[in-house]
Amino acid sequence: VTDDGAVFLGIFRAEASERLDAIVEALISVEDGSADEDVVGSLFRQTHTIKGGASLVGLDDVRRLAHAMEHVLHDLRATGSPVSPPTTATLLRAADALREHLDGTGQPIDEVLAELAAAGSHGEAPETLVLLNGQKGVAQTASRSTVRVAAAKVDRIVELVGETGLHRQRLDRALAEDLPAGASPALAEELESGRRLLEQLRRVSLDMRMLPVSSILGPLRRAVRDLAQSAGKEVDLTVSGAETELDRALLDELSESLVHVVRNAVDHGIESPDEREAAGKPRRGLIEIRAEPRSGLVEVAVRDDGRGVAAAVVATASREQSSLAEVLTQPGFSTASGVTELSGRGVGLDAVRRSMQSIGGHLTVASESGNGTEVRLSLPLTLALLDVLLVERCGDVYGVPLANVVEAIATDGMLTNGGRIPLVDLADVIGAQAPPPPAGAPVLVVQVGDARAAVSCDRLVGEDEIVLKSLRPMLQGLRCYLGAAILGDGRIALVLDPSSLTGRPWPQAYPSSP
């Protein structure tokens, strides 16, 4: 294969994989009755395009599968008949086989081909091809306005924009030293326009990393369908706010977490149809996913109308004054309480909690026994460039994500709120050995979800926009840091995971007022 061939193959794989996502989503919409009028036509066009691309790059099994799917769809379209459930299932299986062959892990396809042949009556190659060729011209024009770029290149641009910002800070500092009387009007104007351009560049480059939540929904719909079928349950999935955009890297974390949460909802939340009917609920269970931007964060809520968390567990949470999420994610929780129904929920949720924490997000759970559970994931829009408040403790600089800072106060005057917010020493939280901060030391109020903590440090340095550098993989075990940042003066700031500041147990509780 020539270099060009390898590039085309890569592009074809990426495009075909997206088309397959769309095909699977459309087939599932046929199954749950929410399909568009033109669903058969759009499925036909998608498979036709995959077939064309596959023959160009010489993936013969992919081409044959796509061709056979296309035939079934062509006949359906010609007769205008609805897609029957067995045909939908066959097409889904064929889509799975096609994906395996795209990934190069495919099994022999004869069986699937035979199944497809049985599903549709065989005719000659569809005449609509001519018409489609006409449409293909349109599609190609449209696709020329988008460019496929390796994600690593986009990341590199964002990184360079961050470095350019750092360079700009150093330049400003050097200029201020060289020109104590200030820059000339012409120079000042140029500097200002440079600053504006850099700001625009920053926004545009960050925007390139953003993808809508809808881009991860295909596999999720599929997971719900498969899980519900194997558990003998009937489940509908509705999604709102799918256009909400998030950084690609965080979307990956979100995707994995959502699969865990949705799996729990189907396995442990939604009851069997008979059980639901007996409880006066509709036979079909409902899982709703809602995504919405919320003050620098994105909140994704997954709500099911199933049986909810057992009342005993809710009681335990309130007795221990912990949140439901804390109780449900305690290691060994499920076995200790003997609530077998919750075992899956505990294990999966623990992974979700850790995943959210590693990106500076958090998890809350609300549940009403008998009426369902709502799991809320709250995560930052991006970690590539992050606004932080820089503080100093024991001579070192730390960053706290600005989205989590409620207020920063230079005196201890606010500590008269009845002691309801625990006061913690930053050094204690991170495990640094240091004498306590002096009286009157600055305090930040940090909030994660409903939990707040007042954190004392030696000095507030100021706000900064930083490029977050990952500590993974070598230092991924250090849970209290999101990462590190290199500051304008070359120093390294460690960026704190806000939930490690508000987490329990408090190393040192603020004494309540007498």
Binding site: E159, A427, G431, K469, L471, M474, L475
Partner: protein, 152 residues
């Protein structure tokens, strides 16, 4: 050897290290070696940013070309006790795992006699040069151990 850069060396017309070359390291009284293929570069140890809450083998992090490089005390990681003052940092790479190993110094580059088996998990084997035992490090096992030790 003052400094060494594999990428720079391989670009030179003549300076091409032999297949089974090793970088020999000094750690207190002990001698160790790393396959040259595992070593990206040897740098002079700079001031480190301490990371509170980490295990004692992690000396801190340093800004290296815009990336955050964790630097470990190799002697401490090998349970030799701290080597005391370290002057050089050997930057090693295993895929996306990049770490700096602080050592007292590097004593040479060259081939080594055939290795003998050893029971140590982080050693590929041991050999003897001029009457001195040299342990050859297994980078993957060593990084596994360092990754583990960063938290405790």
């Amino acid at each position: 050897v003052k400094s060494f850069d594999r990428h720079a060396a391989s670009n030179g017309p003549t300076a091409r290290p032999a297949e089974a070359s090793y970088l020999r390291l000094r750690l207190g009284q002990e001698q160790y070696a790393l396959p040259l293929a595992d070593v990206a570069v040897v740098i002079v140890r700079e001031e480190l940013r301490v990371v509170p809450g980490s295990g004692e083998a992690l000396l801190g992090v340093v800004n290296r070309r815009g990336k955050v490089l964790p630097v470990f005390d190799l002697a401490c990681a090998l349970s030799l006790g701290s080597a005391g003052a370290t002057t050089r940092v050997v930057v090693v790479e295993d895929g996306d795992r990049v770490a700096g190993l602080a050592v007292k110094g590097v004593s040479g580059i060259g081939p080594l006699p055939t290795l003998e088996e050893t029971s140590s998990a982080v050693l590929r084997g041991v050999t003897v040069v001029d009457g001195a035992r040299i342990g050859v490090l297994d980078l993957v096992a060593l990084l596994d151990e360092l990754q583990e030790s960063a938290t405790s």
